[in-house]
């Protein structure tokens, strides 16, 4: 059913982006307010559309006839159903809170208008991604988000490392998008259309030949790994912390990185075509979240810890996708958006308070000077650790449970192993989060200067998100799965299982917290011995598994070398060389032939006479 409000949801942030830049140049203060207002109005539209969504009703709106000519129909159409409603609510809701927060955070930055315009542009492209009715439209949002993350990561472009971090993010996303395009090509030719509503119908999926289906599935997963930072392509996320903290909160915690899971959920039919694809997803997810968790333990930069924790949590979500529990994964997406955004923003307030100090070793004892931020950071830490009443518990518990019911042929024998691994990672998560909490807020202040509490405009959104990460789980736990029954396949879940169940469920979190508390507060000395004993693990973890170096060696160096070789050998010597060589040859032949002119009259006469003789001999009608 056509609805202009849907168009406004996307267009308002877009217009906001342009206006906030144009007007912002005149008066920088307006930019922030304008941008936040734009996202807020978009949020209101989403809520009003969400209210109007009952039963199977959906909204759609065609912005332009885009790629439709002769018999090809690919209009630029956006589509609003329950799944995109959930995602839009998260994007615009958390987005507006973050916009509000960044008014305070970026108060002293002189290129604020450019920041807010990029932020709004990001929200607009994320909305297009989430609302896209056909895969190419989703792809528009997909690349738009990549571009905005490139612009925002490299926002302080005077520092060359930040700029190259932005480029690294964009290129890695681009490698993922390669898969997206390949998948689109396969699906278009076998199913004839790229419309998401059509693609998930079983009779359409039956038309895809099996190995093509497998390639399409893997290609889509490659796209998701690029965007949601999974194993092969996740090293860009920690470097993306070079951008301002609101950017990390919005893009690299709440919204963009979840695009991969949204795509998997949308394309669940294609993913499940070949049973091997979910298995591959499961194993990569497990490996990624394990590696990220281990690395996070030894990080000293507060934002890097959170970045690796995001990668690990995303791994968790992909675990749920791997076993086919898409609504569970989305539930974790929502709760993760709440507490991770809250964590990042409180970290931002800490950094802001400590005059842009990001290293936890020069923080500590901030509980006294920044009580509110400490409170929200604590709440969010408990949530992410998966302690009973908090949001994290419900979604993480649901994932662990759905792992137990995995019925994928490739995973029968490993069912419990994956469950155990997931629990171990959960413990790890609790451990490094508590470590970061202790290092920043407890003990004595190790930095110089005196940190101060962030202004109200920053702490207010953080507190709102803290409340959400406390209450969110409880509220959403029951209605969420049934709500998403429509667009997504059903998933077997049961209620929280009473007090005993919740205590049992939060045991891994408690273990992690206890261990961290013991090591860092009670007996710090023990920590050093362990570090000496496990020095190999410590070296690997702080060296980030040397992934950057491996990637550089395996991918970047060969290509750079190849480009030099190709440019020098193939281009210079072959194509340009042959051109010059042909020139040289013709000159040499020229010099050779002009030797004939000896300047002697007699030679010329002899030549003339000889050719006369030859011609006469040939042509005169002899005999």
């Amino acid at each position: 059913m056509e609805d202009t409000r849907l168009a406004l949801v996307v267009l308002v942030p877009l217009v906001g982006a342009i206006l906030s830049y144009v007007l912002g140049r005149a008066a920088p203060r307006i930019a922030g307010i304008l941008a936040t207002a734009a996202v807020a109005t978009s949020f209101c539209f989403v809520v009003s559309l969400w209210q109007a969504l009952e039963g199977g009703q959906t909204f759609s709106f065609t912005l332009s006839s885009w790629l439709s000519f002769s018999n090809i129909k690919l209009p630029l159409e956006i589509y609003f159903d329950k799944l995109s409603a959930v995602m839009c609510l998260v994007v615009t809701g958390v987005g507006s809170l973050i916009h509000l927060y960044s008014i305070g955070y970026m108060a002293h930055d002189e290129s604020r208008p450019r920041f807010f315009s990029y932020l709004n542009l990001f929200i607009a492209s994320m909305l297009i991604l989430v609302l896209g009715k056909s895969l190419p439209v989703i792809f528009i949002g997909w690349e738009g988000v990549g571009l905005c993350s490139y612009l925002l990561i490299g926002f302080w472009y005077t520092n060359p490392d930040f700029a190259s971090a932005g480029r690294k993010a964009f290129v890695m996303n681009r490698i993922g998008d390669l898969g997206f395009i390949v998948a689109m090509a396969i699906l278009y030719h076998s199913c004839g259309s790229l419309d998401i509503t059509v693609l998930n119908r079983p009779e359409v999926l039956a038309r895809i030949p099996s190995e093509m289906g497998f390639i399409a599935g893997i290609a889509l997963f490659l796209a998701a790994t690029g965007k949601s930072a999974q194993l092969p392509l996740f090293t860009w996320l920690p470097d993306a912390m070079a951008g301002p903290t609101p950017v990390s909160a919005l893009i690299h915690a709440a919204t963009m990185v979840t695009a991969g899971i949204y795509l998997m959920a949308r394309m669940f039919g294609v993913i499940e075509l070949a049973p091997l694809v979910p298995a591959i997803i499961l194993w990569t997810a497990l490996a990624t979240s394990a590696i990220a968790a281990i690395i996070a333990i030894s990080q000293n930069d507060i934002k890097k810890v959170l970045a690796y924790s995001t990668v690990s949590q995303l791994g968790f979500m992909f675990l749920a996708v791997g076993v086919g529990a898409y609504s569970v994964a989305l539930f974790h997406v929502v709760t993760h958006a709440f507490f991770k955004a809250c964590l990042f923003m409180s970290a931002g307030s800490v950094i802001h308070g400590c005059h842009h100090e990001q290293d936890m070793r020069r923080m500590g004892g901030l509980a006294k000077s920044m009580p509110l931020t400490c409170l929200s950071y604590g709440a969010a830490t408990l949530a992410i650790a998966g302690i009973a009443p908090f949001a994290g518990y419900f979604s993480k518990h649901a994932i662990l449970e759905s792992l137990a019911h995995a019925h994928n042929p490739y995973l029968h024998s490993y069912g419990e192993l994956i469950g155990l691994g997931a629990t171990a990672i959960a413990i790890c998560t609790a451990f490094y989060m508590t470590r970061s909490f202790i290092l920043t807020f407890l003990g004595s202040y190790r930095g110089e200067g005196h940190p101060h509490e962030a202004p109200m405009v920053m702490t207010a959104p953080v507190l709102v998100l803290a409340v959400l990460s406390v209450v969110g789980g409880l509220v959403l736990n029951h209605g969420f799965f049934t709500y998403l029954q429509g667009p997504l396949p059903p998933v077997a879940t049961h209620s929280g299982g009473g007090i005993l169940g919740s205590v049992l469920g939060s045991v891994p979190g408690l273990i992690g917290i206890a261990a961290a508390y013991a090591l860092f507060i009670v007996t710090p000395a023990v920590k050093d011995q362990i570090r000496k004993v496990l020095w190999v693990g410590e070296k690997v973890s702080s060296g980030k598994f040397f992934l950057d170096e491996i990637l550089g060696l395996l991918v970047i160096a060969p290509f750079r070398g190849l480009s030099v070789v190709v440019s020098r050998v193939l281009d210079q010597s072959v194509s340009i060389g042959t051109g010059n060589a042909i020139g040289g040859i013709s000159r040499a032949v020229g010099e050779l032939t002009c030797r004939v002119t000896t300047g002697q009259v007699s030679t010329y006469v002899l030549w003339m006479f000889a050719s006369a003789a030859f011609l006469l001999y040939c042509f005169l009608p002899v005999r």
Binding site: L606, F609, L616, P621
Partner: protein
């Protein structure tokens, strides 16, 4: 071949070989004059009387005199220096032979079968007296005649232009006679 034709032909060929053979250009000039006169004789025998006379006047008289004049003017010695290589002369003679064969064979073949009668009759009618040639010249070949006057004019003007003394003073190289300043 009547006796007279045979003699004249022999003289012609001998003098032709003489022109090529003699080292001294002066003697080859004289041998050429003899050659021209022999050819003039042959013309007369073939009935081309006007041509025979003009040959003697124009060719032998005018052109050869001019040649001799130039020879005397430049006072050239006989060709100095190295002899023509044997290989080169053998090659040239070889080529010459090829040319001779490839020209004469078809020509002779062409006319070998001419019936004697028509031949006799043709000889009679082609008496080349001055009147006959004059009529033909001024009727059929009027255009060519006028053009040839143009050619002669160009010849004369050209000769004057080329031979005019240029004010370029050039030091002559040894060997030749002292250059005309």
């Amino acid at each position: 071949m009547s006796f007279m034709e045979f003699v004249l032909a022999a003289i012609g060929i001998a003098s032709a070989i003489g022109v090529v053979g003699f080292r001294n250009p002066l003697s080859s000039a004289f041998s050429l004059i003899v050659h021209l006169l022999a050819i003039a004789g042959l013309y007369a025998l073939l009935g081309a009387h006007f041509l025979a006379v003009s040959q003697v006047v124009v060719y032998a008289g005018a052109i050869m005199v001019l040649v001799l004049f130039v020879l005397m003017l430049l006072n050239l010695k006989s060709e100095s220096g190295r002899r023509i290589g044997i290989v080169r002369s053998a090659l040239t003679v070889g080529i010459g032979l090829v040319i001779f064969l490839s020209i004469s064979a078809p020509m002779l073949a062409q006319f070998a079968d001419l019936p004697q009668a028509t031949l006799e009759q043709n000889i009679k009618s082609s008496e080349g007296g001055v009147k006959a040639i004059g009529e033909l010249l001024y009727s059929q070949y009027m255009v060519q005649f006028e053009l040839s006057s143009l050619v002669l004019l160009v010849g004369v003007v050209g000769a004057v232009m080329l031979a005019k003394r240029k004010n370029v003073q050039l030091m002559p190289r040894e060997g030749g006679m002292g250059g005309v300043k």
